[in-house]
Symmetry: C2
Subunit: 326 residues, 2 copies
Amino acid sequence: MYYLGIDLGGTHIACGIVNNEGEIISVCETPTKPERSYQEVIADMGQSSLSAIKKAGLTADDIAAIGIGIPGIADNTTGRVIFCTNLFWQDVPLKDELSKFIDKPLYIENDATVAGFAESVAGVSKGSKSSVFLTIGTGLGGAIIINGKPWTGAHGVASELGHLTLEVDGIPCTCGKDGCVERYCSATALIRMGRETCIAHPDCALSKAVGGDVKLLNAKIIIDLAKDGDALALKIFHRYTRYLALTINTIISFIDPELVVLGGGVSHAGEFLVNAIKEKLPHYLMFKTMPYPDVLIAKLGNQAGIIGAAMLGKIVYEEGKFDYAH
Amino acid sequence: MYYLGIDLGGTHIACGIVNNEGEIISVCETPTKPERSYQEVIADMGQSSLSAIKKAGLTADDIAAIGIGIPGIADNTTGRVIFCTNLFWQDVPLKDELSKFIDKPLYIENDATVAGFAESVAGVSKGSKSSVFLTIGTGLGGAIIINGKPWTGAHGVASELGHLTLEVDGIPCTCGKDGCVERYCSATALIRMGRETCIAHPDCALSKAVGGDVKLLNAKIIIDLAKDGDALALKIFHRYTRYLALTINTIISFIDPELVVLGGGVSHAGEFLVNAIKEKLPHYLMFKTMPYPDVLIAKLGNQAGIIGAAMLGKIVYEEGKFDYAH
């Protein structure tokens, strides 16, 4: 059998057909245009899905189940999206609408969970029983894989690793709390640290790299300068990776997974990032003589959304129930 | 069948026989006297176990398996205690030594995990599929129950909830890190806050309650004065329970369990403690319109050690393997 995996993003919808081994057979993409009604968005999702099936040389009969990754939260008992901020969706009957095009067992999950699950099925953490995935971009999302399955919590809101408190009364967060991990470990946090440095040192290499316009600063510029050995950029990078090491240590003290996997834009820094974290991690470990998780860079990139969603569909199909994690 | 549960503490060893329903049938206790050799301690443990079996009107044939809760970490593939600081044990062959007295499938687990598991089998969280247990005393320990079983991590060091970072570069912790949860949420932390208040306000009710000797201050004195409405004691109590609410919020953002259970000395404050936490919790929630875990006080007290250990033995017996969590 084959599985349909849909990656519903704020700008693009990617629909892909995936085989039992987690390999993508075909993909069709379409722009999301979230300013439209949800009916129109889901109709495009349905049409793209049918195109992907055709492109793979298959028919709907070959599809066992569907998984959808969304930048939000869903209730799988009703097949409704509870909310999805980027798409302005609230209480949207995604399953019912999509079933007008293709009607199969369907599972909807948060996109970070989907990406982390994809890595554990077909990516860098393949073969591991437990892993924690951090996607480090504008925000910071997470996924927890336990016994080979995503753990999404008793109320569907687990693995919001960007919103653990790292600093009581720390930097105010978009979520309404203060001092969340996201405010210290996201790309946004790294850029903020870079901007602070540019303001304090207007003649620094960072400031020159953006022609004095700190608004142009991004994570790649800071990391590239740190790689080149620029002292101030390295200082920022070590401050930033210290926060990441503290957060990974909290993950170890809490869950102690086999592996920690880093994805998202910042993870493109690759070994340079991993080495800076691994250098700091042992200092923070509670049990210094015990083995601890390796830290790895995710490898599926944009494919993770389709693969993870499809493989979640596979679990639901094989187990015949929606609360796969329980 | 029946199960033998052993609670190995720094001062006492309690051995109990437990039935399939998690009810204690008999108990025998003996002092630990940890200054002795481990062989002597384990011999007393074996003798007490045999006495408990006899007291229950049973023989060794009626015992299906043994569970032992220790204030430390063990390797169940070898049956050895890796370390157990209070008992000065390092790499102790607990299974081999105990088998000289009673030889059954045996599982050794950290005492906080054992207590949390007991609550989920026969205590306040009975019937729940997922829960997180915090034991709040001199230190702060934790247990994570997922799908009805303790999750102890890929390397056996999970659920060290006292050592999540709550404050970067915060109060130095006994573990070597700074700003751990234990430094803000344990009884020790509450007492520290009380002492600081006594020093700043030598005439306060707290200071009077201990005749000016801050060394006599304990958690109960502070909580009792707060219950009586003393303004300064209440201020400390609200500062302290705010840290607890932040930590419970981190637990929700991470694992999102069905229930959060509080045990240990501080939990004797009961509803007064729970209400102060519940009052603060909604403010910190990431998803304010979603349901979230209730916070409950543990109910098994000292019996948790025996019941939880015995019920872990039961899992190992029924599943026929030691890596029950995987």
